[in-house]
Amino acid sequence: MAAEVPGTLVVAQSLDDVVSLDPAEGFELSSVQAFTSLYQRLVQSDPDRPGALRATLASDWKSGADGHSLVFTLRPGAVFSSGNALRPEDVVFSLQRAVRLNRSPAFILNELGWTAGNVDRFLVRIDDLHVGIRWPARVGSAFVLNVLSATVASIVDEQEVARHLVAGDAGNGWLHTHSAGSGPFRIRRYIPHEALVMDANPQAPLGAPLLKTVVIKNVADAASRRLLVEVGDADIARDLGPDQIAALRGKPDLQVLEYPSASLHYLLFNTANRANPVLGNPALWQAARWLIDYQGIAEQLLKRQYIVHQAFLAQGFPGALDTTPYHLDVAKARAILANAGIAPGTVIKLDVFNQPPFNEIAQSLQATFSQAGIRLQILPAVASEVYGKTRARTEEAVWLYWIPDYYDAHSTASAFAMNREDGTQSIAWRAGWHIPELSALTAAAVEEQDPAARAHLYEEIQTQVQRDSPFVIALQERAQLVMRNHVHGYRQGLTADMVYYDRVTR
């Protein structure tokens, strides 16, 4: 057993997806996870009350009369890990650089109508403690607050970054591998594809963490991760396969924790694909809803790592539709196909990621679809390749997963229920689904100020998508991780960034 260092938590997971630890650039699962520990935003999701926002670097805010502005009062006495005090200039700097750098997560801030050309007009330092934020887009302030709780809106220590600037990069080069935030931890060392070592930041606003160090080790292979946590060389292991977790349940030193996750799995048919015209036939989409072995996949194949969920807002999300009207019914599917004149023996190419659990799910689909006479040809490929195909709209059918980009219903609704036909590559666009009325409804929903009315609109939108779309939403992930018994105080939320180490002790 490896030597233990007191006050240090070791987490075994895969870090291979990380592109950068600059919050204006990093948008991968492992990166956004780290940002919650390293940086803070004006407002953040409350870890103890899902769906509610907690004032973090802002202590209060007021809506403007026009409905297009907010004034934030900064938390007095808040300092960064460097010791520099939090100033409105830091807020302005952080949000402006995120928009101007225009990296992956910038589109979230673009939703407010901010562009590299105009963003400085909309961020104003009012006085030492107040900062004003305005936005031109037709969206409500509830939406804006949710956007500002996304990791791209992390507040960065401008003065610290200024010491490491390189000609016009706004600190991006240095922030790749270093942190300048106010979160409960700061980066001691980051070695790409190897490990992220974080030290406690005792001056963190909202309190210092209970641990001294967190080491996130890159262990690419799930079997090795399982070994590490079983033997005790790691305290937490993430992303283990369902069979591995089933095997580790009941071991004396280990506990299996389950958290609802906002990750959804769905099947997509590209109706715009001319090469295979059957894809454009709504009867196919209808039949497909009855040809997935939802229960079998969720319960037996993936050993309860997933639950059956058939609407685009994940369970636990405000406004989520929890009805699951569909189940495996081959006879019904066959009747639908026969009525529509879709002959048995139709071949459809299915693209999937060549990693678990996608290949298993694909093979289960292959078996059930074949019972209704549809032959699925499975084409496993690397993730970026599959995404590339959907962007070019050359796919026939794809099995994908969706994680909301920020904690607001619009993130997912604008993907599944909006096709602006202007080149914006939403999911609906990638499926070639033409929905002018539904898109208008979705646009109205994000503008709605009244929360109850908003929730009602999203229910309506979800119902339509569930019934008529070329997507079959099937599963929702239940995030499972294995933890050694001496670890306490761990919290995790619905979205990828909501991983909290600040209350952990071992």
């Binding site: 910038a106 790409p192 080790k217 590339g388 080149g423 590559q425």
Partner: protein
Amino acid sequence: MGAAYGLRVLRRACDAVLTLVLTITGLLAVTFALSSLSPIDPAIRLVGDHASADSYQQARRDLGLDQSWPVQFERYVGHALHGDFGVSTSTGQRVRDDLEGVFPATVELATIAMLVSAAVGLGFGLVGAWRRGGLIDALIRLLSLAGNSVPIFWLGLLSLYLFYAHLHWAAGPGRLDDAFEYSIDRVTGFVLIDTWRSGVPGAFSNAIAHLALPVLVLTANTIGNIARMTRAALLGEIAQEYVIVARAKGAGEARVMLAHILPNAAGTVLTVFGLSYARLLEGAVLTETVFAWPGIGRYLTTALFAADTPAILGATLVIGVCFVVLNRCTDLLIRAVDPRIL
């Protein structure tokens, strides 16, 4: 006589350098072509699938993907000649810094595995040739053949399970325990040297404990060839005249073997050593994955999946140069040791 000889040596040296340059250029060109043809879009890998079209285009421009291939290649070679291998899209660091980090890890692993394989393989080959046809010979041959025929990732996982999880004889994945990993200064990049120099108690033995399993797995795979070739070479020599003469003169078996046969078989043996070392250096990709060893093989695989062209080219360059240089050195060594070859 001296001048003609000198001219020949010079000519051979020029030949060698020319071959080296041509090989490297060819390797780079092919790798560049494959990498550019890859359907994996490095820009998507970088900005992710949800980014705006604008961010995506900007990423393409930053990566130089909007230029034609010959221009891209030319730019790359030009920079490389100045020691600038570009910036990796998957780590965000300079490729040169990345390589400086990962290359020593593989070299260390391969070298130790090579030394152990050479010693054991040579021993097996000697014993096998000596006791030819006997039970020991058959056993040794079967063992080394089996080691050569087993899928290395399978062996790696099994040995991790047995020696680490069950018996706790060896340490787990990675080069060092976390207790030491982040407190040792990486001066040379060779974990054995760095832990020794650091003086931290327990660090050096921990490094050895972590090296044990990957070396074991790699050795099992390499012994086969070495033992087999050594045995064959020795058997080839045994039948020669000078052995009969030496025996007739009354020399003992051991003396005959070590003082007469081995030096003459050295040519073949050294070739196998060279080839095996080169293969080990090729990255032991699968071994590095199973043991989370941060070496160049894993670096290259990660880069391939991310279509990270600068990293792919940089790593291939390093591996290719090693290959060629090793082959050349082996050739030279053979000439030096075996007087019959000119």
